[in-house]
C-alpha cells in the first residue's frame, strides 16, 4: 500500500468505509482514523477548557467552549427534568455533540478524501460511516432503555409496550407501536446524521468536480452550509438522545394519570420520581 496526496479527478463515492489495516482481529477503517483524531481533538478542547477554568487562565476560546457546555448542560437538565439524572446523562449527551460536531467539521477539511492510502482515502468523516452512527444510536437507545428500567423496573418498562389487549385494546395497540418505534428511532437516529454528513461530503465532491476552476467560488458557499449542517446534526442527535431518555422516565401522568384497567398490574413508579 502506498500513501498518495494527489487528489482524484472524480469524486470517490463509497457508502462503506474502507478498511486500511488490521490489528489482530480488529479492523481499522478510514472513518475510525478520523474519528480517533476527532476524539483526541474533542478531549483536548474539553480538557484544556476544564484546566483553564481550574487554573483561572480561561481565555476567549475556553469561555466559548464553557458557554457551549453550560448551554448543553442546561438543556439536558431542562429536558430530563431531574438534575440528579441529568448530571449522569450529561457525559454521554455532551460527548455526542462534541464528537459529532468536531468530526463533521474535520470531515470538511480538504485533506479528507484527497490523501489516499493504497486505493482508499486515508480519512473519512466519522458520521459518514453507518457503523459509527448505528453504534452511537444503539448506545443512545440502550441508555434510554436502561434509565427507563432503572426508574420503572424491568416489568414497569415492559408495561409501556405490552398491555393486555382484552383489558385496554387502545393502549395495547399504542404499546406495540411504541415498541416498533424504539427500532425505528434507532434507525432514524443513525440514518439521519449519516445521510446528512455523507450527502454533504458527496455534494462537496460533486460540486468541486463539476465546477472545476470555479470551485473556488462555488465551494465556500457549500462549505458554509455543511459547517452549519454538521453542527445542527450533532445538536439534533444530542437533543433526540436526551428526549428519548426523558420519554422513558416516569412522569407526572405515570404517577397520577390514567388509571390502569382492572386486573392490570400498575407500573412501578419509584418514589423519587
Amino acid at each position: 500500500m502506498s500513501l498518495s496526496i494527489v487528489a482524484e479527478s472524480a469524486p470517490h463515492i463509497s457508502i462503506a468505509p474502507e478498511t486500511l489495516f488490521h490489528i489482530g482481529p480488529l479492523l481499522i477503517t478510514n472513518s475510525q482514523l478520523l474519528g480517533l483524531l476527532g476524539g483526541v481533538l474533542a478531549f483536548t478542547v474539553l480538557w484544556s477548557t476544564a484546566r483553564a477554568f481550574k487554573n483561572g487562565t480561561a481565555g476567549r476560546f475556553a469561555h466559548l467552549i464553557m458557554w457551549a457546555f453550560e448551554s448543553l448542560y442546561d438543556t439536558t437538565v431542562e429536558v430530563i427534568g431531574d438534575t440528579k439524572i441529568a448530571k449522569k446523562v450529561v457525559p454521554l449527551a455532551i460527548t455526542l455533540v462534541f464528537f459529532f460536531v468536531i468530526n463533521n467539521w474535520l470531515g470538511l477539511l480538504p485533506i479528507v478524501g484527497s490523501i489516499t492510502y493504497g486505493e482508499a482515502p486515508l480519512l473519512r468523516g466519522a458520521a459518514a460511516d453507518l457503523n459509527v452512527t448505528v453504534a452511537l444510536a444503539v448506545i443512545s437507545i440502550v441508555t434510554a432503555q436502561l434509565w427507563a428500567m432503572k426508574r420503572r423496573g424491568i416489568f414497569g418498562n415492559l408495561g409501556r409496550y405490552f398491555v393486555n389487549p382484552f383489558k385496554d385494546p387502545l393502549h395495547a395497540f399504542e404499546g406495540i407501536l411504541e415498541f416498533v418505534a424504539e427500532f425505528t428511532r434507532t434507525a432514524a437516529l443513525a440514518l439521519r446524521i449519516f445521510g446528512n454528513v455523507f450527502g454533504g461530503e458527496v455534494l462537496l465532491g460533486v460540486i468541486g468536480f463539476l465546477t472545476g476552476y470555479a470551485s473556488v467560488v462555488a465551494l465556500p458557499i457549500f462549505y458554509s452550509l455543511e459547517l452549519f449542517v454538521g453542527a445542527v446534526q450533532g445538536y439534533v442527535f444530542f437533543m433526540l438522545t436526551i428526549a428519548f431518555i426523558s420519554l422513558g422516565l416516569p412522569g407526572e401522568e405515570d404517577a397520577h394519570g390514567h388509571e390502569p384497567a382492572k386486573g392490570d398490574k400498575p407500573e412501578s413508579v419509584p418514589e423519587e420520581a
Binding site: F43, L46, L130
Partner: protein, 182 residues
C-alpha cells in the same frame, strides 16, 4: 414442499439482508469496535474532564447566585437606609417647623410685651409730665400769688405811706372785704 419454500424464502431474505447490510457498509466487528471505543471515550471524559467542567459551572453559578443575593441584600439595606434617611429628614423637618412656629410665637410675644412696655412707659412718661406740669403750674401760681401779694402790699405801702405788717395787712384786707360786702 411447504418447508422447502419457507426455507428458500428465509434463505433468500437472509441473503438479501446481508447484501443490504454489506451495501450500506455495516459490519458487525466495526459496530462492536465503534461502540466500545465510544463508551471508553465517554468513560474517560466522564472521569477526567466533565467533573472539572461541572464544578466550574457550579462554582460560576454559585458566584452569580451569591452576587445576586448580595446585591439583593445591598438593595434592601439601601432601601432601609433610604427609608431611615427619609424618617430622619421628616423628623428634622417637623422639628424645624416646630422651632419656626415656636420662634414666631415667641417673637410675637416679645413684640407684644415690648409694645406693652413701651405703651406703659409712654403713659408713665405722659403722666409724669402731666404731674410735673401741674406742679409747675401750681408753683407758678403760688409764686405769682405771692408776688402779687407782695406787689399789692408794696403798692398799698406806697399808697398809704406806711410800712405794712401782717396785722395791718390783715386789717386792710378785712376792711376791704367788708366794704365789698356792703
Amino acid at each position: 414442499m411447504y418447508h422447502f419454500v419457507t426455507a428458500a424464502v428465509t434463505h433468500e431474505n437472509a441473503e438479501h439482508s446481508v447484501g443490504l447490510f454489506q451495501a450500506l457498509g455495516l459490519n458487525g466487528t466495526l459496530l462492536i469496535e465503534n461502540t466500545l471505543a465510544f463508551l471508553v471515550f465517554v468513560a474517560v471524559l466522564a472521569k477526567f474532564v466533565y467533573p472539572a467542567l461541572m464544578k466550574a459551572v457550579d462554582a460560576r453559578r454559585e458566584a452569580i447566585e451569591t452576587g445576586l443575593r448580595e446585591a439583593k441584600e445591598s438593595h434592601k439595606a439601601a432601601e432601609k437606609a433610604q427609608s431611615q434617611v427619609a424618617e430622619v429628614l421628616e423628623a428634622a423637618r417637623k422639628d424645624a417647623d416646630d422651632i419656626i412656629a415656636r420662634s414666631h410665637q415667641e417673637a410675637t410675644l416679645m413684640v407684644a410685651e415690648a409694645e406693652e412696655k413701651a405703651k406703659s412707659r409712654a403713659e408713665q412718661i405722659v403722666a409724669d409730665a402731666r404731674q410735673q406740669l401741674d406742679n409747675d403750674v401750681r408753683k407758678a401760681r403760688e409764686a405769682l400769688k405771692r408776688d402779687t401779694v407782695e406787689l399789692v402790699a408794696l403798692a398799698t405801702e406806697r399808697v398809704i405811706g406806711e410800712k405794712l405788717d401782717d396785722k395791718k395787712d390783715a386789717a386792710l384786707v378785712k376792711k376791704a372785704l367788708a366794704g365789698e360786702k356792703a
